[in-house]
Symmetry: C2
Subunit: 362 residues, 2 copies
């Protein structure tokens, strides 16, 4: 199947071919280079970079010149076709990113040329050089924040913040426990907990370099970091020392590491699952529910974004970017020029060893 | 270890030996026959019936002549020593029951001789002929209700009612799903749902007589009853017909029957675990939490009774007994004279084939 370009107002529009004749009086975007896929499959096989023709701006539209956009695991899953919600193919890759306003429709009032904006809620198709979307899609952000953080603030840091806020009311001195603590969400949770005076108990895989990983997480503010093998003890709570039993746990692995989070939780505690890196289910004893009164929940940012709770997200994003700005919040990213998209993709797919999250720089 | 009788005010009191001298001016209970166990172990080995000496009533005490008390599975687990909260041994068996007021302390104002009462919250030691406890322990109930229902209203029917009320707000036309539907809690859920206009989807074991069990549950108001083997299909929801996807599920089995409850639940649904008859854990996929947004919780009546939510329970018990009285709520019980306690216990232990719940009649 050939790639069908989006409706191109001003040049050719399936909805209204007459638009062509109005083109000369309208604002039109530059042509865009985009990473597209026409069918689902291995991303390094099904994606290619193509040129898309210019798009006419309707009166409330904004044309954004993209500056940077990350390759998140969920982007890969969407291209593979295994993510439950995904755009119909053919589609342009990407779900978040940052750009600069290049052109405005005639009725746009709230934003100006040169503003830096992110799509919020995030939306499909950020892997392209120019995007035309309605004003309401775009959220203006502070240009002082390095673009790689603005480009990545939604999918990982916002997940961390919402998970800390939405499930259990924590107060300074409380503790949380998490597995997969070296992930970006994990690093964000450690730092956001530290900023709130909340202690963090962190579980990481046993692997070469786990001692360095521990030190790195402690440098971010982790109170305790255990490898899974350190937790093969009769009662993990004996390892807590002065830390309180955690009321809230986060699981992005599944299998035994999820059980380890459950073991740490206090009576009445909640575990929130937001990922399944081990591709293994979560197994829970009956008595954990009845006598320990544990609650198991799930978190999915994309679902949240479709609810009315989404309205707080822009405020939260501003807060997160202000933390980046004042130096109290960070995570590792690697910028790659758009021309080397294939290299960035191979790194994101794990084909080239261990790399930080890849951020395409347009 | 010998059985130590409880402190016997009026005859010998370890707390205050001087009480002896006041005995002749005081109200004293009759001697009591009680089922006691001095150590944990198999109930048919460690329990015996003994005589306990009379007890002096303090001014706020009430002496209740027990009429009936059931043998619940949790009573058996307490005697076995496997229940997480249990009285220290030596102890008297039982946790709920009904009795008639036989004598009153001098300061009792709210209850009268001849009233029928239940301990509410329930409390340990109902397997005896006379109980002396403070007025506040006792809740007066309607004498028109057959005693076997008053004796058993708390542990099973109240569990069913609270589970229907406490987790998900249901409205008429909604549906629930449950496994272990032939249990007394299961039967109560079916009937309480029917009374509320809530549809019930019920899962039972494959066994000889499962067709009769289906008919019996449908007679109570079950909308659908499936055996586990009927649910070995690609999509259980195809079996729902006109019923809506359930927002709330109940699990008292664990293992695969718990997974069947999860499969029926709608997006955002909640499964409440209140038992583990299969002695197998509950296994849940990561995507059930993230993409289906399921929540897993637990229910334990004994815990609830220690919270401030317990205060509504007496109102709920009156409601449940009124339903029994008007004939819209029932379940099978078998009354056994106290002198045949050992037979009742053997039946409750499953040693004598299938029997309804055993209720000791004093």
């Amino acid at each position: 199947m050939a790639f069908r370009a989006p409706p191109l107002n001003g040049f050719y529009c399936r909805r209204n071919p007459m638009v062509f004749f109005r083109a000369f009086a309208s604002v039109v975007s530059p042509p865009s280079k985009a990473v597209v896929y026409e069918r689902h499959g291995p991303p390094d096989e099904v994606t290619r970079v193509i040129d898309l023709p210019p798009v006419e701006l309707k009166e409330h539209d904004i044309c954004v010149k993209m500056l940077a956009a990350p390759i998140n695991p969920s982007d890969i899953n969407r291209i593979e076709g295994v993510y439950p919600v995904r755009p119909p193919v053919p589609a342009i890759g990407g779900y978040e990113g940052v750009g600069e306003i290049q052109a405005l429709g005639s009725a746009v009032r709230g934003l100006s040329l040169g503003d830096w904006v992110i799509p919020s809620p995030p939306s499909f198709g950020t892997w392209q050089t120019y995007i035309v979307k309605e004003e309401s899609v775009w959220h203006k952000i502070d240009k002082d924040v390095p673009m790689e953080f603005s480009a990545t603030v939604t999918v990982n840091p916002l997940t961390a913040l919402r998970m800390l806020e939405d499930f259990v009311k924590l107060v300074p001195g409380d503790a949380i426990v998490q597995n997969g603590a070296t992930s970006i969400v994990g690093q964000c949770i450690i730092q956001l907990a530290r900023i709130r005076g909340i202690r963090s108990i962190n579980i990481i895989r046993d692997r070469v370099g786990s001692e360095e990983a521990k030190e790195k997480l402690k440098g971010l503010g982790a109170d305790e970091v255990f490898t899974e093998s350190q937790l093969e003890v009769k009662n993990v709570k004996d390892l807590l020392g002065v830390l309180p039993e955690p009321a809230l746990g986060f699981n992005c692995v599944g299998g035994n590491p999820a059980s380890l989070v459950l073991k740490f939780l206090r009576q009445g505690g909640t575990m929130v699952t937001y990922g399944g890196m081990a591709k293994k289910p979560i197994t829970v004893s009956t008595s954990s529910f009845i006598f320990k009164d544990l609650a198991l929940r799930g978190f999915w940012l994309q679902k949240l974004m479709s609810t009315e709770n989404a309205k707080d997200c822009r405020v939260m994003i501003d807060y997160l970017l202000s933390l980046v700005c004042d130096g109290s919040f960070k995570y590792e990213l690697e910028m790659v020029p758009f021309k080397d998209f294939n290299v960035a993709l191979d790194r994101a797919l794990g084909k080239l060893g261990s790399h930080p999250k890849q951020v395409i720089k347009f």
